[in-house]
């Protein structure tokens, strides 16, 4: 295989439409006679529903339908949405109902839907649906959720403990008994939102003649929605097609199947006209899954030289009101904590608790940023105690390259022993330090201090399991036009999958990238698919595309060899033709091959070749492939206002072989921006009663162009031995260690004040207060 495109900075095939306004997002799809829906949502974090009176709303002009839980099919009476990924550690497998019937468990939970001629009328009518609530005490802070006589977040179960388990290996008691130093701290990571710029959106169309549903959704997992619809409606999977058209960002929250994705199709079926629902930003902040609420109470045992002997502690994870994705996210946290370090003994006790807030589910980084924050903060503190440079203590503990593949001692979420497949972590850290001129920082700091400015530098490392199975499939087909069509189970929310998959196929067929059409995001393309999460698509869909393309390319060469009466080995594919190598040989175009193979009378296939110019393959990776990286952040902090500016950001990272550096760099830059938000800006606030306070983008701050520096990126490429392409995922590494690196830098900048950073996000008011308190303490002494 020639690799003209693999590894090249190929510009995206997606962009032409998107820069001219010709993109096709869910709300851009106009079907005749479409009606609009609006949801009535709970204004209480926890309440009993006493009664609902929809009569006034039903009478309003333009209103076609108002549904409450009582109006839904009888079969849904006690039916919750499917729980993706069940696990034995789950004690209370609670997911949402399509509409809440008796009890609302978070502010924003849907209790009724109104369908009207247009969105404005639907919203007007939704306001006229009278719901009487009897408020119940709410569980707001996960830290008090397990208090013995505290309130219940869900009255249908006996306690708030949703799940509990232990991850451990090695002799933890001995590790701590023999330690020269024990560092103990508590860290809290507060929740934020994924906040894709396009909110959620659903459009459903029912075809009475075929008794079938077509659903467009701004989702990351069309196949997941299809499975949920098949399950809820109890229909054949041939009766449902789910399409994710252009999707305006995902970042995790668009991975779940939400109640709206069940209720809107139901409405379309009842009315017989298309029904559309477009989430507004306020709804997004109230009813779309969030992430990060975790409390880590952890200890690190070290020997006199600063080598880690053991890690132990507890992890308290706030799942919100439900467990839509089971315990995947806290499980990832619990297995990410050892990170790229040699940790001989380990024990982490994880408790997952219900609160009366919107559920948490994987969001860019998926539980890893919290784990990385915990271990990296511990290492910084240990360095302080031992009087070591922060880079040096890490150097002493990083897993050496010779130890690869490295068995950590834990079981990962794919059920396999957690084994890092490849990489050179010490080298990667060194690359980051060199690029950032870590050694020269003290001079920069001194210069800034002389000008009255406080600079700080911070470092954090991470390892990330990517490319999870179970599988993804792809079909490569030669079209009658001679073009190549790829049909995949992949869904894309801006990652550029079309381009990258086309690059892989283009190399196999010896054609240009724009000779390859790629279908993504449509359940009609491939019968089964899994979805875009856990940075898994390049490993899974990429490998499936590679194999199916290679298979079909071989067939094209076989046909050409027979037609041209040549040896198979002498046939090459190039520029849309199959030809005999060397100047004298003949050639046959892809288009002619397609014609021959289409079963037309008068054209016959060479003997021994089966008809059909199509190859399908599925790729199921043996285990996760581990990306890794090291981030260095430089910040300037104003101790008075607490304002932090990230002045410089360096990423050295290894995601195996890079198919398109332009796009990987883009993923990293975007991921770092998200991480900066997590570190110093994004905080989803709730009041004591569990009412969300930050429900607009004016209250919930996203990083803007002024907050995010140009990230300096250096690549290492340790090919993964686990897939034919040698690739690993790259979508989340920019985010994972960012809060840890920035926390380290802020603490470093404030070292004259002796401030400790234990939480994220660190908002200006928090930092200013920490400085003030530290100074007051100093003065008191």
């Amino acid at each position: 295989m020639t690799t003209r495109f693999f590894g090249a900075r190929v510009q995206r095939v997606e962009d032409g439409a998107l820069v001219t306004g010709a993109g096709r997002f869910t709300d851009d799809i106009k079907l005749k006679e479409t009606l609009s829906a609006a949801f009535v949502r709970s204004p209480f974090a926890h309440a009993r529903i006493v009664s609902i009176d929809a009569s006034a709303a039903k009478e309003m002009p333009g209103v076609h339908l108002v549904l409450t839980a009582a109006d839904l099919p009888a079969a849904w009476r006690d039916k919750r949405l499917p729980l993706d990924v069940p696990a034995p550690a789950i004690r209370h497998p609670l997911t949402q109902f399509p509409l809440a019937a008796d009890e609302v468990c978070f502010c924003g939970e849907a209790v009724a839907v109104v369908v009207a001629d247009n969105r404005a009328l639907a919203e007007d009518a939704a306001e006229q649906v009278m719901v009487e609530y009897d408020p119940l005490p709410a569980v707001v802070d996960c830290r008090t959720a397990l208090a013995p006589d505290g309130p219940l977040a869900q009255t249908s179960v006996a306690d708030n403990l949703a799940a509990k388990w232990v991850n451990e290996y090695g002799d933890i008691e001995r590790a701590f008994a023999g330690a020269a130093h024990v560092i103990a701290e508590d860290y809290f990571q507060h929740r934020g939102t994924g906040c894709p710029l396009e909110p959620r959106a659903v459009l459903a169309q029912y075809d009475r003649a075929g008794d079938s549903l077509t659903v467009w959704s701004a989702t990351q997992a069309p196949h997941g929605i299809k499975r949920a619809i098949v399950d809820m409606f109890d229909i054949a999977d041939t009766q449902v097609r789910v399409i994710a058209p252009d999707v305006g960002g995902g970042f995790g929250p668009k991975l779940l199947t939400y109640p709206e994705e069940i209720v809107i199709p139901h409405c379309a079926r009842l009315i017989g006209r298309p029904v559309k629902w477009i989430e507004d930003r306020r709804e997004h902040m109230m009813s779309t899954a969030q992430e990060r609420d975790q409390l880590w109470s952890v200890r690190m045992a070290l020997d006199a030289d600063g080598r880690i002997l053991g890690l132990r502690g507890t992890l308290l994870h706030d799942t919100g009101a439900f467990l839509p994705w089971g315990i995947i996210m806290p499980y990832i946290s619990a297995t990410t904590f050892p990170g790229p370090y040699v940790v001989p003994a380990y024990r982490l006790d994880t408790s997952v608790v219900f609160t009366n807030k919107i559920s948490t589910s994987p969001m860019r980084g998926a539980g890893r940023p919290q784990a990385v924050f915990a271990v990296e903060r511990l290492l910084d503190r240990a360095a302080q105690v031992l009087g070591l440079d922060r880079a040096e203590i890490r150097r002493r503990n990083l897993i050496p390259a010779e130890a690869m593949p490295y068995k950590v001692g834990l079981i990962y979420r794919d059920g396999q022993p957690l084994t890092y497949d490849s990489g050179d972590y010490p080298q990667c850290q060194q690359m980051a330090l060199d690029t950032a001129d870590w050694a020269g920082f003290e001079a920069r700091r001194a210069k800034a201090r002389a000008e009255g400015r406080h600079l700080g530098i911070g470092l954090a490392n991470y390892v990330e399991g990517t490319g999870l199975g179970p599988f993804e499939g792809a079909t490569a087909r030669l079209l009658p036009s001679g073009r190549i069509l790829l049909r995949t189970g992949a869904a894309s929310q801006g990652q550029g999958h079309r381009t990258v998959l086309a690059q892989i196929a283009a190399d196999a067929f010896g054609v240009a990238v724009d000779e390859v059409d790629v279908e993504v995001g449509d359940t009609a393309s491939v019968s089964v698919g899994v979805g875009a999460f856990a940075s898994r698509l390049m490993v899974n869909a990429g490998s499936a595309v590679d194999t199916s393309s290679q298979t079909l390319a071989l067939k094209l060469r076989q046909i050409a060899a027979a037609v041209l009466d040549a040896e198979l080995d002498d046939i090459e594919l190039s520029g849309g033709v199959a030809r005999v190598m060397g100047t004298q040989g003949g050639q046959i175009s892809f288009r002619e091959i397609a014609k021959m193979s289409s079963g037309r009378p008068g054209f016959s296939l060479p003997r021994g070749i089966e008809p059909g110019l199509e190859a399908t393959s599925f790729f199921a990776p043996p285990q996760a492939a581990y990306s890794n990286g090291s981030h260095v952040a430089e910040v300037e902090v104003d101790p008075e206002t607490g304002l932090v500016k990230v002045t410089r950001y360096v990423v050295a990272h290894d995601c195996g072989r890079v198919i398109n550096p332009l796009l990987v760099d883009g993923q990293i830059q975007g991921g770092v921006a998200h991480g900066i938000g997590n570190a110093i800006m994004e905080r989803m606030r709730y009041d004591e009663a569990g009412n969300p306070q930050t429900t607009s983008l004016a209250d919930y701050l996203l990083p803007d162009a002024g907050n995010v520096p140009n990230v300096e990126i250096v690549h290492m490429e340790s090919p993964s031995p686990l897939n034919p392409l040698g690739v690993k995922g790259a979508g989340e590494g920019g985010t994972i260690p960012a809060a840890a690196a920035i926390a380290s830098a802020i603490e470093d900048a404030l070292s004259p004040f002796g401030v400790k950073i234990l939480d994220a996000p660190m908002l200006p008011e928090t930092i200013a207060m920490l400085v003030k308190n530290a100074q007051a303490q100093k003065d008191a002494r």
Binding site: R24, D704, A705
Partner: protein, 163 residues
Amino acid sequence: MSAVSIRVTVNGTPFEREVEPRTHLADFLRHDLGLTGTHLGCEHGVCGACSVLVDGRAVRGCLMLAVQADGAEVTTVEGLAQVEQLNPLQEAFREFHALQCGFCTPGMLTTLMQLLEEHPEPSEEMLREELSGNLCRCTGYAGIIRAAMKAAPLLKAQRENAA
């Protein structure tokens, strides 16, 4: 609510339509005229995705009522390319990977068109400052800033040629 009649010129084409007084400009463009390139990310004036040019100035389509655009010239993202040919800013967006999902892109492009016309030789710092009212969740802005820097002189040359 009784509809009001308005006339607007959008991307060079005159339209006369009846609109409800409460319809904002972005919805009018998207739903009444079918110009779905203008996107809505927040509907409360913060994200900038809905930015369009009204008489040459970037405005938030979600904060302006359609009736307020009566008599105005509106340019949306659909009006930026010349027949079959991307303008230099659109080209540069592609070259520097200044978009991922593309949802913020129309607002970025329209805002930058005005900005680069007013500041033909921008500094990176100024661009970052001026663009801080347009949010992008995907790219981390680096590609957008690079694209704008590259396009600035090209757009300037284009304007001078046209003049």
